[in-house]
């Protein structure tokens, strides 16, 4: 993050005190990230916009509950976004399908689009690390991770969608996450003071449905 900009924790403290300028700054900093995650999950721009609106309203309402030692603001926001979007998706969904998402778009290296150029540099670098780490996984492991994360499928639903045994899916998810963890830890540039703690955030959107 630029030194000339206020850091996220400061902005969150100000938002908790009802400073709309700080809230505006956070919105400008993260609206594209939130919208992107929402759109990747729900698939249509109108619903993604509603999700984005709801997420930032929640930020405004719950800024006082944010704990910087538990997670970055970006992580906090994307977690809320994901769970909110998946809730919507599950309500609207009947049968899981494996081919609902354009997986190729998710796995392409980032090009210097205008949106990404406007992003925080650290966020862009992190995005590249994650994409690179995911690309190192076997395709079948990538697929199950993306179905779980972006479509909110349970392991059972993934097994049904891919017509694979449940045990196979469980193994793929476990191996994929273990490999990602190893790769991302090896590539981490510096100690992350905001590494997530166990008593973390927002599993309230975890209204899991199978």
């Amino acid at each position: 993050m630029s030194d000339s900009k206020r850091d996220d924790a400061t902005l969150m403290r100000l938002v908790a005190q009802a400073h709309t300028d700080a809230f505006t700054e956070l919105y400008e900093r993260y609206n594209r990230l939130v919208f992107s995650v929402a759109l990747a999950i729900v698939g249509d721009k109108e619903t993604a916009a509603e999700v984005t609106l709801d997420v930032f309203v929640r930020l405004w309402q719950r800024a006082g509950t944010y704990r910087p030692e538990q997670a970055r603001v970006s992580t906090w926001l994307t977690a809320i976004t994901r769970h909110h979007a998946i809730d919507i998706l599950r309500r609207e969904r009947s049968q899981p399908e494996a081919n609902e998402t354009n997986w190729d778009r998710l796995l392409l290296p980032s090009s210097a689009t205008n949106h990404e150029l406007e992003e925080d540099v650290a966020l862009s670098l992190q995005r590249e690390r994650v994409r690179s780490a995911l690309a190192q996984l076997p395709e079948e492991q990538q697929q199950v991770l993306l179905l779980a994360y972006f479509k909110g499928y349970s392991q059972q639903q993934i097994a049904e969608a891919l017509k694979q045994p449940l045990g196979t899916i469980k193994t793929r998810i476990r191996l994929a996450m273990q490999k990602l963890r190893q790769t991302l830890q090896e590539e981490r540039p510096s100690p992350d003071k905001s590494e997530r703690t166990p008593a973390a955030y927002y599993k309230d959107e975890n209204k899991r449905g199978t």
Binding site: A49, L145, L146, A148, M177, R181, Y202
Partner: protein, 241 residues
Amino acid sequence: MSPETHVIESLPAYALSCLDEAEAQQIAEHLVGCAVCRKELAAFQAVADQLALLAPAAAPPPDLQDELMARVRSLSAMNRIPPQRARRPFRQSLRPAWGIAMLLLILALVVTNLLLWQRVNRLEVLTGPQGLRAITLSGTEAAPQASGFVIMSADGQNGALVVDAMPQLEPEQQYQLWLVRDGQHTSGGLFPVDESGYRGVRITAPESLLEYTAVLITIEPAEGSPSPTGTPIMEGSLHNS
């Protein structure tokens, strides 16, 4: 705890929220008492969180910001109580007089700008008009997102519990409030939550709430338990620390 009782192999799926309900509940209950697995979960959760960055970059409609700020101004006008919360019916098994009084207590707290929802992270006892006391509660590691508070009258004879973002329960389960004193637990009532995890209820207690030192909320069978048996979900001290 011996290695075979850990649930580490299930933690990646738990971090992705792709376990079925029953297994997820088992994992959650295990995590309450296992620091090893909690540490592992934190690491896997950090990985899961980064998957968000795979989403292709996109921008919301330009007018969304105006719509957002209009809503924020509206919320500010209500002293940061969200409109949907104000519309929620406050279901309660109360005598009508106390029901009205409790609503007035909550409104009084809003008016005096005690900002309860902004402080749910920290154990605080806030005092408002007429000696009304509002005590914020904290979600346990089984439900870190849960929040709530207890409001009580100055003499402790009347009290109400408001919770939000509580985990959904199975049909055969209910939340049970416990009033704690000297290691003893007295039931303060059973309650379900709505689809958003919200509930407001009157606290039933054999004595003044001032006689108790803490509150605890656990998951119990639908008919309740004589003492806590299930996963602790929320807790708080009833006195200033």
